[in-house]
């Protein structure tokens, strides 16, 4: 877990200094009503104060200066660049960004679920346990029990030759030492919990007999089988159609209320974010570039990239002025951490400073942390 060369250490130090005030010093907002739909045009922010990093919750997971570097045949790739964030108890934190921004790698790195060519540095603490220092057997106890994952592809994430009950049962046997008839009984309960009709029949079926939405529910049932402290949902609805998506989101919301699990939601679907998340961390090219409560982010975002993401949400009411907007260009692949803004090449506000200096993550005009030399003014309306 040591840094490969001198550059990242430098960047990590920079980061620690700049990140400290942003995480601790912001006041809290208790009432963050969950948004009912995708962000609407010109929505007025409903909260006066800027939400704190944890909305007043106790910290469950803390990630500090997490960097992930891959050794590849084409040289090193820096996928995650000194990312820090906290997840509170029972909080839903969304990790948002385009494909290739390092969201999934960040999530996988939490329990070292990365291929052997990955080099992870930084600190991940779940409660008082430092996950990156755990041995592989200890880490296996954490996976699926304390931190459980739900992946994007329900169609292929279940073993085709095992029945649903066997697969859920495997987790129960492993982490809860359950045996015999109790396993199937509990598996049936879990299927019921995630809203699968006729659970006592489904439990005996094979994955191919279930639809995509059903399979994703099974995946969620497996994930919550041991009442994990943190559920990592990596684009849980991306592969599903819209009606099924709504059902899956309901399940996640209900589970959070029922078993009190925190959720790290990885997505590029801002509708899902508005629906479910308490707080949002926006990532770009391996760095966090903005962090705010969900409502604040939609209403008073400060980073041009965040605005770009929000504007790229299809909106029928905006069809008049030119249809779907997009952010020109693509996410760059980082070899090392450049002393520049990684978004500069695609940013309309970029000037010479942006390509010469690394912007720090500091409280911006709207009060929440943003990594930009030219943040949007705090008065900026959500989508204009």
């Amino acid at each position: 877990m040591t840094a490969g060369n001198g550059v990242p250490e430098q960047s990590a130090r920079d980061w620690t200094i700049e990140s400290v005030p942003s995480v601790e010093s912001v006041p809290s907002a208790e009432s963050v009503p969950s948004a009912e739909s995708v962000p609407s045009v010109g929505r007025v922010p409903s909260v006066e104060s800027v939400p704190s990093s944890l909305s007043g919750r106790e910290t469950l997971l803390s990630v500090r200066d997490l960097s992930v570097r891959f050794r590849t045949e084409d040289g090193p790739v820096l996928a995650v660049d000194a990312v820090s964030f906290d997840v509170g108890q029972r909080e839903v934190l969304a990790l948002v960004g385009e494909s290739g921004c390092g969201k999934s790698v960040t999530a996988m790195a939490l329990t070292r679920l990365l291929p052997s060519n990955a080099n992870i540095s930084g600190a991940v603490k779940l409660g008082s346990r430092s996950l990156l220092d755990l041995s592989e057997p200890d880490l296996r106890d954490v996976r699926g029990k304390d931190i459980a994952y739900v992946f994007q592809e329900p169609m292929t994430s279940l073993n085709p030759v095992l029945t649903v009950g066997r697969q859920i049962g495997e987790v129960l046997r492993r982490h809860q030492q359950m045996r015999g008839a109790a396993v199937i009984r509990r598996a049936t309960e879990l299927l019921d919990l995630v809203g699968i009709p006729l659970p006592d029949r489904r439990v005996r079926e094979y994955p191919h007999q279930l639809s995509g939405g059903m399979r994703q529910r099974v995946m969620i049932a497996m994930a919550v089988a041991c009442r994990p402290k943190l559920l990592v949902a990596d684009e849980p609805t991306t592969a599903l159609d819209v009606t099924v998506q709504a059902g899956i989101l309901d399940v996640l919301r209900d589970l959070r209320a029922e078993i009190g699990t925190a959720v790290l939601l990885i997505t590029h679907d801002l509708g899902v974010v508005a629906d479910l998340a308490d707080r949002v961390v926006v990532m770009y090219a391996g760095r966090t570039i903005e962090e705010a409560g969900t409502d604040v982010l939609f209403a008073r975002h400060s980073h041009p990239y965040t605005r770009g993401l929000l504007e790229a949400v299809p909106n029928p009411q905006r069809r008049a002025d030119g249809g779907l907007r997009e952010i020109p260009g693509r996410v760059p692949t980082m070899r090392n951490s450049p002393a520049a803004c990684t978004f500069a090449a695609r940013c309309e506000f970029a000037d010479e400073q942006c390509s010469r200096e690394r912007p720090a993550l500091l409280p911006g005009p709207a009060g929440h942390p943003v990594r930009c030399f030219h943040p949007l003014p705090a008065t900026a309306e959500a989508l204009t």
Binding site: T156, V161, L210, A246
Partner: protein
């Protein structure tokens, strides 16, 4: 919760299915060819097991007054140059041939599957295991068998081991490529994310998904083992006369083909039928074991 109802409409109910062995058997029954294969194999195994009771004569009982008689009511499969009843010899030969086939295939699976899984799952072991397998594959089978016979002494056991070892590289390669393929699939990643150890991943997720391919390979290897035993016995490296095996009977009938064609033809037909039965059963099993009813 209205959304659930909405979703339920979308997710149509599938037929409930029986579990495990009963389901496989039912599916096997629906496939007439596989069923025929199953019957052939079961009958052959029963005949082999009860050869003692079924055979009308002792396999080494000679009767020179009835030497080289063609098939008749008394000797269904005729007699050989020593007047031994060929039907009895085929039954006992079946016993030898089937056990050599079963044991050698079992041996090659026991050795080859773990090595193949290890090579496919642990990248760092792959070069070592694969090179050893390649070397073994490059070694002519007969040389291997002769070498083994020189060390262990010629016997049926030696022949079985030689055939089994000769089959190991193929098993390693097939298992390795299956492990390599399966290791990259999402459900393996999901199992790891749920805290499964390597052993659990291999045993519960990779091996069961490789079983279909291995069954097919086993049903190809078993008839090859029957022939292999014949070759080795012919060279004096396998079973010793007067004990019969199907292969030995075939081989020893060679010089008498003009005077007693039944001596070669009937054991030959037996080999063909058993082989065919094994292959049909293997194909059917592969389909029946696949929980997906239709290929994706």
């Amino acid at each position: 919760m209205t959304t659930f109802e909405l979703v339920t409409l979308d997710e149509t109910a599938a037929r409930p299915q029986a579990l495990g062995g009963r389901r496989v058997l039912r599916r096997l029954r629906r496939n007439p060819l596989a069923l025929a294969g199953l019957i052939v194999v079961v009958v052959a195994v029963i005949l082999a097991i009860f050869a003692n009771q079924i055979a009308p004569f002792a396999p080494d009982h000679t009767n020179f007054s009835a030497a080289l008689t063609p098939p008749s009511a008394r000797h269904w499969f005729g007699t050989d140059e020593l007047g031994r009843d060929q039907l009895s010899r085929v039954l006992f030969g079946l016993r030898v041939s089937l056990s050599v086939a079963a044991l050698s295939v079992a041996l090659s699976l026991v050795v080859g599957v773990p090595l193949g899984l290890a090579a496919g799952f642990y990248g760092f072991l792959d070069p070592l295991v694969s090179r050893v397998a390649d070397t073994l594959l490059a070694f002519p089978f007969l040389i291997l068998a002769v070498g083994l016979a020189a060390i262990l002494g010629p016997s049926l056991g030696t022949a079985t081991i030689a055939i089994g070892v000769g089959n190991v590289p193929a098993i390693i390669r097939i298992t390795r490529s299956e492990a390599l393929r399966l290791r990259g699939l999402d459900f393996v990643a999901a199992a790891v994310a749920d805290g499964a150890s390597d052993f659990v991943v291999l045993r519960r997720h990779i091996l069961p998904n490789a079983v279909n391919t291995l069954i097919v390979q086993a049903t190809v290897a078993a008839p090859a083992a029957i022939i292999g035993e014949a070759v080795l016995s012919f060279l004096g490296l396998g079973i010793r006369p007067p004990n019969p095996s199907l292969g030995v009977m075939l081989a020893s009938a060679q010089p008498l083909f003009r005077d007693g064609p039944w001596l070669a033809v009937l054991p030959g037909i037996c080999i063909v039928i058993v082989t065919l039965g094994l292959n049909l059963l293997g194909d059917g099993l592969r389909d029946a074991l696949d929980p997906r009813e239709s290929p994706r």
